[in-house]
């Protein structure tokens, strides 16, 4: 056993790696800092191109405007609601379908898996899906943002694989102790799957936070629209190919870039806050030592 901590020169490879990563970080950070600076700058200064890295003529007007806009607040609330709901639905339902599929002796395993796989390769297309949603009474219903996408075959496979790595002995032990299927799922499988749940929740939250298309086609009432749609509208330019659209565009009042930037920052915040809290679960290794044998 070597205990001495020698002061070594840093290997060339490390310099290369850290240098590369540092550059990468700059590339990723710059646009964010730029947007943040714009959001705190004066509108005129921004359109004069004076903002490069730090805010010019610092002020909070843009944020004042953003927080005053009732549509923004409403969309924000909707997004949080949809993200929470769809994450809960996704984790619960996917877990419930994946668990039996991970059990060796389950007879319906193969056919169910095949049914699921079909959905990975074939979709109904937009119009038929719309019809299904409509006939289910989900149009203009907040549930449409949570239920239809709750189970994806791909996620089921990930869940199943993870569950399969949990030693069957644990399940059998619980069974012998008198636990039923649901109890085993709740008391043994789920607690052992925290890294999985954290990761998949994060994906679900981010996915829900960023998705706008479902809301666009299924929610007629703009009061139910999520933040992503509001943002998209603020930022995406219209198709300018026809003269008519150009004309309409020009007649519209301009949204100053400061406001667009401020909206983006505020919209980004929750996701940025969620990351660090879920990160600690990413580290796996919960399983080590759970079976002694």
């Amino acid at each position: 056993m070597k205990m001495s901590v020698k002061k070594k020169s840093i290997p060339f490879g490390d310099i290369l790696i850290y240098g590369g990563l540092f550059l990468l970080m700059l590339v990723i950070l710059f646009p964010m800092i730029y947007i943040i600076s714009i959001s705190f700058s004066d509108t005129g200064a921004v359109s004069r191109g004076e903002v490069v890295l730090l805010p010019v003529e610092f002020n909070l007007d843009a944020y004042r405007y953003v927080f005053k806009d009732a549509r923004f607040a409403r969309a924000y609330g909707n997004s949080i609601f949809y993200a929470a709901g769809s994450t809960a639905a996704s984790v619960l339902l996917t877990g419930l379908i994946a668990y039996p599929l991970s059990v060796e002796g389950f007879s319906g395993r193969k056919p169910l898996t095949i049914l699921l796989m079909i959905t990975m390769f074939f979709g109904g297309g937009m119009i038929p899906t719309y019809m299904v949603i409509k006939n289910l009474g989900l149009l203009d219903n907040p549930l449409v943002m949570m239920l239809p996408g709750a189970i994806s075959a791909y996620n089921v496979i990930i869940y199943r694989t993870f569950f399969q790595n949990i030693p069957p002995a644990l399940r059998e032990a619980a069974y012998i102790d008198g636990a039923g299927h649901f109890k085993i799922f709740r008391k043994v499988i789920l607690p052992l799957s925290k890294p999985l749940l954290a990761t998949m929740s994060l994906f679900a939250i981010v996915g829900s936070w960023n998705s706008y298309f479902d809301a666009l086609i299924y929610l007629n009432d703009s009061r139910m629209h999520p933040l992503s749609l509001y943002l998209r509208q603020l930022i995406v330019n219209m198709d300018m190919s026809s003269q008519g659209m150009r004309d309409i565009m020009v007649q519209m009042d301009v949204n100053p870039r400061t406001i667009r930037a401020a909206t983006m920052i505020v919209a980004m915040l929750p996701i940025m806050c969620v990351y660090p809290f879920l990160q600690k679960y990413f580290a796996s290794g919960v399983m080590i030592g759970s079976v002694k044998g």
Partner: protein
């Protein structure tokens, strides 16, 4: 095992089929003519037992508007929901209808909606799709057959879906729509823009109370004056002036561009009295294909010449709106072949000059006459009063309130309602001084109240209303341009009647023209940036397009144009100014 799979798949397929079938069934059910006849058929006897013919009843009602509406009110309680042929607003019985349009940053229910409801007793349950994605939503609704009572459409979509009986024909109701008739008389394009080959009017194009010349050639007045350069009158003088300026200001980008290369090519093409695609040529009096004409060649040669002298933004094909405005406001740009003038001085539109002055107190942009080219007087696109059907309203044939909606649309075209949706309420949101309407509220509050009429359903848009929202100087420039337009005639007008194609023709057209367009876009960039020369290479370019078969489509255009009645040929120069 294997058999099980097959079964499962079969079951799934069957299920999917069943869903599809019910979906289609829904879309097809309740055909339009039936339900409409039922309504009118049921109503005529109930109201006037002696009068049997529907059409006569309608005609009569139109002539004695007041009398019949009183009757309507008294008849209403008697037979509950029966529809009346004529209506006065506010309706005696409130109705609620659904409508789909683009939101333009509006909220679903605003002050303007409340006023509208008060005036009409019609509650509109809006689906306001985000403007950037509105056509996705409209397409979905049309494809699924799930139409709201009123829906935003465009002419292409109407051509595609009208055959399925989705829309009400405005012509069937025209005799009951006096206001629409009056507007059609004033602006015939309202009819010609969207009428189909069989004379059906399945949608009503949006329109403004008048057209205008919103695009002008602009120049940096302060820089030109400082350097003692007179305002150029010809394209050569312009070239010399910009070369001089570029030499003095090496950092400048004398000409920039946004919205892609096609925008610059389009504006310069207009200057040379042509476009890159099929267009009605004033000289030959028939359709031409731009790329084949000498005019267009001259336009591209000019662009090449300007580009070679570093006068054109090297990134002209990719500059974004924000970058473009940066360049303008920071004083790098000296000349615009054609640009919208509303943004120049108006704060809510970006106020280019105001922001420019903060960098350089002398900063000044002014409009100038279009320069003369080798071809003659430079031209510019003018904004016709109508939207040419690119933005139209259709009424669903499945609606339960077709008669009321038609009456509502007609009422909408009355001065009273035009004022309401554009200006709001007199004394509260606007005032009339010396016969001119003036805003009493700030632009922000207008948005908050929902006063923009541009939701697209509340036509027409009062052009004076838009102009009144501009800064005085911006407005002066536009009015001056309008006055000049009358005197000098530099407008590039649309043809009176757009050429219509059947589905098969449309297919054939895109089959041939899509590859040509792609090829052209690529090649034009090569010509402008000087990678290809205008002499030998241009002939090869034309040959290639000929080989790709454009002539077949040009013939289609020409045949259709020749077949038009004489009064529909030529240009629509009627801007209603």
């Amino acid at each position: 095992m294997k058999r099980k799979h097959v079964k499962a798949i079969a079951l799934l397929t069957a299920g999917a089929m069943a869903l599809l079938a019910t979906g289609c069934g829904d879309a097809g059910s309740g055909p339009a003519p039936e339900s409409k006849q039922e309504e009118t058929g049921g109503e005529a006897p109930a109201e006037e037992p002696g009068d049997a013919a529907d059409e006569d009843a309608a005609g009569e009602d139109a002539s004695k508007e007041d009398a019949s509406s009183e009757e309507g009110e008294s008849a209403e309680p008697a037979d509950g929901t029966q529809a009346e042929a004529d209506y006065t607003f506010p309706l005696a019985e409130p109705i609620e209808i659904t409508a789909l349009s683009a939101d333009f940053g509006r909220d679903k229910t605003q002050w303007a909606d409340e006023q509208y409801e008060k005036y009409t007793n019609v509650k509109i349950d809006w689906t306001l799709a985000p403007t950037s994605d509105v056509w996705t939503v409209v397409n979905l609704k049309l494809n699924s057959g799930e139409l709201p009572d009123m829906i935003l459409v465009n002419k292409t979509l109407v051509d595609q879906f009208a055959g399925e009986g989705l829309f009400v024909d405005f012509m069937d109701y025209l005799d009951r729509m006096p206001n629409l008739r009056a507007w059609m008389e004033k602006i015939p394009a309202i009819y010609y823009d969207t009428v189909d080959a069989e004379g059906h009017l399945y949608c009503l194009t949006n329109f403004n109370t008048r057209g205008q010349a919103p695009i002008m050639s602009l120049y940096r007045k302060d820089i030109f004056e400082k350097e003692n350069i007179p305002v150029p009158a010809t394209i050569d003088e312009l070239y010399d002036a910009l070369v001089t300026l570029k030499a003095k200001y090496p950092d400048s980008i004398p000409i920039s561009n946004r919205w892609g290369a096609s925008n610059l090519i389009g504006v310069v093409g207009n200057l040379y009295q042509c476009t890159s695609g099929f267009y009605l040529d004033a000289d030959t009096g028939n359709y031409e294909y731009g790329a084949m004409t000498d005019k267009f060649k001259a336009a591209i040669a000019t662009l090449q010449k300007f580009y070679a002298a570093d006068l054109i933004d090297p990134e002209f094909a990719t500059v974004s709106d924000d970058q473009y405005i940066d360049r303008v406001v920071s004083g790098k740009v000296f000349f615009w072949f054609g640009e919208y003038t509303g943004a120049l001085y108006t704060e809510s539109k970006g106020d280019w000059v105001g922001n420019g002055k903060k960098n350089n107190p002398d900063f000044e942009i002014d409009a100038m006459p279009f320069v003369e080219t080798e071809i003659g007087q430079g031209q510019s696109w003018v904004q016709a009063p109508t939207g040419r059907g690119a933005w139209s309203t259709a009424v669903s044939a499945q609606s339960e309130h077709i008669d009321e909606i038609m009456a509502l649309i007609d009422y909408q075209l009355s001065q009273e309602m035009i004022d309401l949706v554009n200006w709001g309420v007199e004394g509260e949101t606007y005032e009339v001084a010396d016969g001119q309407k003036k805003w009493l509220i700030e632009p922000e509050e207008r948005t908050e109240r929902g006063l923009d009429a541009r939701t697209g359903m509340w036509i027409p848009i009062d052009q004076d209303c838009y102009d009144a929202s501009l800064n005085d100087r911006s407005r002066e420039i536009i009015w001056d341009a309008n006055a000049r337009l009358k005197a000098e005639d530099f407008g590039r007008y649309d043809p009176k009647k757009a050429i219509l194609f059947t589905d098969e023709e449309q297919e054939r057209k895109s089959e041939i023209m899509t590859p040509i367009k792609t090829y052209m876009e690529e090649e034009l960039m090569n010509f402008i940036t000087g990678k290809k020369n205008m002499d030998g290479d241009w002939e090869a370019f034309k040959q290639q397009i000929t080989d790709m078969g454009y002539e077949e489509i040009l013939e289609m255009y020409r045949d259709k144009y020749n077949a038009l009645p004489e009064d529909q040929k030529g240009f629509d120069k009627d801007l209603g100014l």
